[in-house]
C-alpha cells in the first residue's frame, strides 16, 4: 500500500513536471514580451500552436511520396506510396523521417524567428503606446486570424505526429528508484521535460551572460533609461519578440507528439499560461518558470483519485483557485518585480 502510494506520487510528480515544463516554456516567452515590450500578447498561444504545426509541416514535407509499384505483391499490380527520401537515400532516409519531430526544430527556429519579426514589425510595434486593453484585444484578433489560417490549411482535425520509434515506448523508471515495475512513463515525455529545462536554461544563460541579455534585463527594469543611454531599444525589442516567438515555437514542436495538434491547441493553453504568468509575477522570468512547474505539479496532484475523493472537482479548478489566492495575498505574484504593470 505504501509502495503504491509512493509510485502514484512519483508518477504524478513526473506528470506535473512535464506539464509544468510546457507551461513554463510558454509563460517564459510571454513574460519576455511582457517585461521588455510591455505587450500583453494574447496571440502567444497561437504561436505555440504554430510551432506544433511546424512539426506537422516538416513531417509532411519529409514524407512527400511517389507511388511505386509494390514488388511484394505479385499477382496483381499494386502501388504504394514511398517517400522520396526513402527512394533516394534508402535506410538513411527512413531514419530521417523517423526523427522528423526533433529535426523540425531546425525548421521551426527560422520560421518562428521570421513570424515573430513579421508580427512585431507589421503590427505589434504600433501598440507599444496603446493601453493594455487594446493590446489584448488586438492580439486576440490576431490569434483568431492565425488560428483560422491554420485551420484553412490543415483542417479542423488533430493531426497525429509520432515521436521517433526509439523513444515512443515507455521508460521503466521504477527500477531506477527501486520501486518495482509499476512506475512506467513515456520516454518522449521525459525528453520533453529535459528539453524544456534545456531551453529555459539557455534563455536564462542568454539573458545573463551576453551583452544583449544585459541590455534586455536593463530594459525590463527601466525602459526609458536604457533608451536615453543611446541604445537602439527598438531593434532589440524586435529581437526579443522574435525570441519569445521561437521559445513558444520550439515548445510547440516538441509538444506535437504528446497531443496531436489541432488549430485550437493555442487557445487551450493561452488561458492557463496567462494564469501562470500572473501567479509568477508579471515581468519576472524566474517567477514564470517557477509558477509554471508549481502549477503543473499542483494540477497533476489534484487529479489523483485520492485527492478527488476528498474535494470533488478540485482537479478542474486548482490552477484558477491558486491564482485567485496568490493575486489577493501577494498582489505582485510570487516573484513580481516592483514597477512592472502597476497602475
Amino acid at each position: 500500500m505504501l509502495f503504491n502510494l509512493m509510485d502514484a506520487i512519483l508518477l504524478q510528480l513526473l506528470n506535473g513536471l512535464d506539464k509544468g515544463g510546457a507551461y513554463a516554456l510558454i509563460a517564459l516567452g510571454l513574460t519576455l514580451a511582457f517585461g521588455t515590450l510591455g505587450i500583453v500578447n494574447f496571440a502567444h498561444g497561437a504561436l505555440f500552436m504554430l510551432g506544433a504545426f511546424c512539426a506537422v509541416t516538416f513531417n509532411k514535407l519529409l514524407t512527400v511520396s511517389k507511388s511505386v509499384k509494390d514488388e511484394s505483391i505479385t499477382f496483381f499490380d499494386a502501388y504504394k506510396e514511398v517517400p522520396y527520401l526513402e527512394i533516394w537515400w534508402g535506410d538513411t532516409g527512413t531514419a530521417i523521417i523517423d526523427y522528423a519531430v526533433p529535426l523540425s526544430i531546425l525548421f521551426a527556429v527560422p520560421v518562428m524567428l521570421l513570424v515573430g519579426w513579421a508580427l512585431e514589425r507589421g503590427f505589434i510595434q504600433y501598440f507599444y503606446k496603446r493601453d493594455h486593453a487594446s493590446q489584448i484585444l488586438f492580439t486576440f484578433g490576431m490569434a483568431i486570424v492565425i488560428q483560422e489560417i491554420i485551420r484553412h490549411i490543415f483542417g479542423a482535425n488533430p493531426i497525429p505526429t509520432p515521436a521517433p520509434d526509439v523513444v515512443s515506448g515507455s521508460a521503466n523508471i521504477g527500477q531506477y528508484f527501486g520501486l518495482g515495475d509499476n512506475v512506467v512513463y513515456p520516454w518522449w515525455r521525459l525528453i520533453y521535460l529535459g528539453f524544456s529545462l534545456c531551453v529555459i536554461s539557455a534563455v536564462f544563460a542568454f539573458l545573463k551572460f551576453t551583452t544583449f541579455g544585459m541590455v534586455v534585463r536593463a530594459g525590463i527594469q527601466n525602459r526609458e533609461m536604457v533608451g536615453m543611454l543611446g541604445i537602439n531599444i527598438e531593434r532589440r525589442f524586435t529581437i526579443v519578440f522574435s525570441l519569445s516567438a521561437v521559445v513558444a515555437g520550439v515548445a510547440g514542436v516538441m509538444y506535437a507528439p504528446i497531443v496531436p495538434p489541432d488549430f485550437h491547441l493555442g487557445m487551450d493553453f493561452l488561458v492557463l499560461t496567462f494564469v501562470v504568468v500572473v501567479v509568477g509575477g508579471m515581468g519576472s522570468l524566474p517567477g514564470a518558470v517557477a509558477a509554471g512547474f508549481l502549477l503543473g505539479i499542483l494540477q497533476s496532484f489534484a487529479s489523483m483519485n485520492e485527492v478527488k475523493e476528498i474535494i470533488p472537482g478540485i482537479d478542474q479548478i486548482i490552477i484558477y483557485l491558486v491564482a485567485v489566492v496568490v493575486l489577493l495575498v501577494r498582489p505582485r505574484g510570487l516573484m513580481g518585480v516592483k514597477g512592472v504593470f502597476e497602475n
Partner: protein, 373 residues
Amino acid sequence: MAIFSAVVLSMPIWMSPFGAAYPDILQKFVIFGVFAIGYNILFGLTGYLSFGHAAFLGVGSYTAVWSFKLLSMNIIPAILLSVLMSGIFAVAMGYIALRRSGIYFSILTLAFAQMCYNLAYSVLTPITNGETGLQLAKSDPRIIDRLFSEAGEGLPSTTLFGIETSGYSGFYISAVIMILAFYVSLKIFNSSFGLKLKAIKSNQNRMRYLGFNTKPYLLTAFVISGMYAGLAGGLLAATDPLAGAERMQWTASGEVILMTILGGVGTLFGPLLGVIIIKYFENIFSAVNQVDLHSFYALLPDWLEDIMVAVSSMFVGEGWHLTLGLLFMFVVAFLPKGVLQGVEIGYKKISSYFSKSPTKSTKKADTGANHGE
C-alpha cells in the same frame, strides 16, 4: 426613446432586404443586445475589461431552465430568478476581482469564469447535465403550473401567460425587454452614478483624492452588468429552453467584448450596432457556400472566377471567423472607439468638405460620401 423603440420593433420589416428577417436571428440580435448593453455599462463606463461575463450568461441560462423544470413554464419567474442568481454570482466575483485593476482584474475574472465553466462540465453535472446540456423533461415537477392545470401530452413550451415565446412573439417579448434594458442603461449613463463611473475610468486616483470610495461604485456597476448578462442568459433559455456549458467558455466573453468594441465602447448605440454586425455576419456569412460564390462571380471569366472563389471561400462559410478576426484587428487598430467613430469621422469629413467648398461639382462630393462610408 420612442424612435429607438420603433426602430427595434420594426426590425422584422427593415431587416428583410438584408435577408435577416427570420425570428431566430432577430431574437439573437436583441438578446445579445441586452448582453452587450450590460457589458458596456462595465467596460464602457469604468474601463474595467472583464473576461468573465460569459459565466453570468451561463448562470442565467441554467437558472432559467431550472425554473422551467421546477416552477413554471412561464418566463416571468425564470427571468427574474436568472437575473437574481447572476446578480448573486456577480457580487461574489466582483467583490474579489475588483480588489485589483487593469490586467490583473481581467485575469481574475477570466479565472473565475473558467472555474465556473470547468465545474459545470465536471462536478456540477447533476445541476448542469455536463456536456449534453440541461434540457426539459416530461417528468419535471413544475409546481406552480401543476396548481392550475394537469400535465399535458408531450413537452410543454415556454410561455408568457399563454403566449408562446418562440418565433416572432419571442422576438417581440425580448425586444421589449431589451428596450427597457436600454432605457435603464440610458438613465445610468446620464445619472450622477454614471458620471462617477466615467470619472473612475479617466482617473481613479483623482477620484480617491477627492474623497470618493470607488469600490462600491465599481461593484455596483459590475453587478448591474452581471445582471444584464444573466437577463440575456435567461432570455436565451426562454426562447430556446436549453442550457449548455459552452455558453460559459471564455471565448464567449471574448465575443461580447468584440461586439462592444466593434460598435463603439462607451457609446449608447455602439454595442447594439456591434451585436447586429457580428450576429449578422455569423448567420449570413457562415451560410455562404461554394455554389453561392460561383454564382456571385459568374460574370467573370472562368479562370478568374475560380481564383476569386478560392480566395473568398477563405473568408466565408466555416472561415467566417477569419473575417471576424481581421475586422476586429482593423477596428482596434484604426477605430479604437468602434464603427460609430468611423461613421462620425466620415460625417465630419463630408460636412467639412461641404462647408469649405460649396461650389465644387457634385461628382467630387459623391466620392467624398463614399469615402465616408
